[in-house]
């Protein structure tokens, strides 16, 4: 209905209700990225992610360095998950060069990779906590992470940028009495993360806030090509550790965690379950690991691959992490492409945030297990 307006008064148009908010790059609720969000009142009308603030051209850099020297810089996209980000690269180069990894190195790789996954997920969880305004959930994971960081430091010699995996095995053997130390810490760590349930995952306020926020149905999860916890929270049982076992995972009993809801709550719970599963895998691997033996194949100084290409993928903390290497008989890769889980999950962001409430924005955004630095590479 249109009423007769007094002169000088106009009805405002719809577009004037819409406010454009830049969430990021200098925003406590964004990573190193920007979300251009249009809000109508409390509802998000559209969302346009703008990554690229930490783009460093890792792929270009890799074309100039040989297969060994690529290692320290290729782990930079995700320094919290540096073992896993090197994993597919090492697998790929091993296939290119035709290397056979020693048995003990396979298990140690699995252990280091699972420890690093826990470290990554703890960091992710800490930020998820602070995004939801739960400061304890920031401090606890950030503190308990220290247990495993300390352990990894004893193995690899660095706290986060381990540079531990190399084509052909691992850089160094573990120190003495490692198994006992590892078991003790992993057991305590498992006990600690089980305590998160009462204060975080079973917290009614958290449940009321995240359940039903940003629901990604099974069909959409497949159609959008999501991966990792985002995919498994939507009810698709796809865990590369089980589906395409690499290294020692084939001999271990891996259980992949799947939830059906596909909302923020399920997406945030899957990594937590993954951590418990990781503790399990580490204990198994410690048992089955050969007690001694070689851990590294000796390489020539400048190894060359043939005219070939490989695509290897592993399950990282953020889902499937693929490494595509094109080799042209040079010591350097001709083209190296990292297909990272974060970048694949980025496409969900405009899809899920549309029509969502502004208050749900951080919950949905971070539950996608998106790591801006990795997506930019």
């Amino acid at each position: 209905m249109t009423t007769q307006l007094p002169p000088g008064l106009q009805l405002e148009k719809v577009d004037e209700r819409i406010m454009t908010l830049n969430v990021g790059p200098q925003h406590p609720g964004s990573g190193h990225m920007r979300l251009i969000i249009k809000v109508d009142g409390d509802y998000i009308v559209s969302c346009d992610p703008d990554p690229g603030y930490v783009h460093r051209g890792e792929e270009k850099m890799a074309e100039y360095r040989n297969y060994i020297v690529n290692i320290p810089h290729l782990e930079r996209p995700v320094i919290h998950d540096s073992c896993n980000v090197l994993y597919p690269y090492c697998l790929g180069v091993e296939e290119l060069l035709g290397l056979e990894v020693p048995e003990r190195a396979k298990y140690l790789r699995v252990i280091a990779s699972e420890l690093n996954r826990c470290v990554y997920i703890q960091y992710w969880l800490a930020i998820y906590g602070i995004f939801l305004g739960h400061s304890t959930m920031f401090m606890w994971p950030a503190g308990d992470r220290e247990l495993l960081i300390d352990l990894l430091e004893k193995i690899t010699g660095a706290r986060v940028t381990h540079a531990y995996f190399v084509p052909g095995g691992i850089r160094n053997d573990v120190p003495a009495n490692f198994e006992e130390m590892c078991l003790k810490r992993v057991n305590y760590f498992e006990k600690r993360i089980k305590e998160y349930a009462a204060i975080f995952y079973d917290n009614p306020i958290l449940i009321s806030r995240t359940q039903g926020a940003g629901v990604l149905s099974r069909e959409d999860a497949i159609r959008l090509g999501t991966t990792g916890s985002t995919l498994r929270a939507s009810g698709v049982d796809f865990d590369l550790r089980k589906k395409e076992p690499y290294d020692a995972y084939g001999e271990l009993d891996v259980h992949s965690n799947v939830l059906k809801d596909g909302d923020s709550y399920a997406r945030s719970k899957i990594p937590w379950l993954d951590m418990l599963e990781s503790c399990n895998i580490i204990r198994q691997a410690l048992q089955k690991m050969p007690k001694s033996g070689s851990v590294r194949v000796k390489l020539k100084p400048n190894p060359k691959g043939g005219n070939d290409e490989v695509y290897k993928r592993v399950e990282s903390g953020r889902g499937s992490l693929g490494c595509y290497i094109v080799s042209r008989s040079q010591p350097e890769p001709y083209r190296l492409k990292l297909s990272v889980g974060s970048f694949r999950n980025l496409i969900c962001m405009p899809y899920l945030l549309k029509g969502e409430k502004l208050g749900n924005m951080p919950a949905v955004y971070w539950s996608l297990n998106y790591w801006p630095v990795e997506a930019d590479r």
Binding site: M1, L9, V14, D40
Partner: protein, 170 residues
């Protein structure tokens, strides 16, 4: 002492009332309006009826002024009425005001306010409640109806009219 306070409150009330009408910025106008309403509360305090004074502050400043502020903030300035300078309108307004003041004054003078004792004991606020629920109960029910009607009317007026535009997916 009371006289001085009365004068001060009068100056505050009338001054801020004038400011509320004359200030160009709407926000400052509504702040001035809050001053006026607070001045009225001051009158009530001077008249030894703190209950009504607190009612005045809590309702008029605490909620109605907030509502006015809120509404003023949400409306852009150029969308408000353009001020139309018209001599006839002004005189008509002044005339209307005079008529209203005279009639109100007549009512007040006729209501027996002249015979009131200034040094009588103040009325306990509980008697207000008692009177409301016994002798004046129709007024209470009437007030409830008015409030209900106002909330319904306000809700009906405030909704947006361009519902067809579909921007939200839920």
């Amino acid at each position: 002492m009371a006289d001085a306070v009365f004068l001060a409150i009068s100056v505050l009330t009338i001054g801020s009332a004038i400011a509320a009408l004359e200030v160009r910025s709407l926000i400052y106008g509504s702040i001035s309006l809050m001053g006026t309403l607070g001045g009225v509360a001051g009158y009530f305090l001077l008249l030894d009826s703190p209950f009504v004074a607190m009612f005045q502050i809590a309702v008029y400043i605490g909620s109605i002024a907030v509502l006015i502020l809120f509404t003023v903030m949400l409306v852009r300035r150029q969308l408000i009425f353009i001020k139309i300078e018209d001599k006839r309108r002004r005189y008509a307004g002044i005339g209307l005001m005079l008529i209203m003041m005279v009639s109100l004054g007549a009512i007040i003078i006729g209501s027996g306010v002249k015979t009131m004792q200034t040094d009588a004991a103040p009325v306990d606020f509980r008697t207000i409640g008692e009177d409301f629920l016994t002798y004046y109960w129709p007024a209470l029910v009437l007030m409830a109806l008015i409030l209900a009607a106002s909330v319904i009317g306000a809700l009906t007026l405030a909704r947006r009219e361009d519902m067809e535009n579909e921007q939200r997916t839920d």
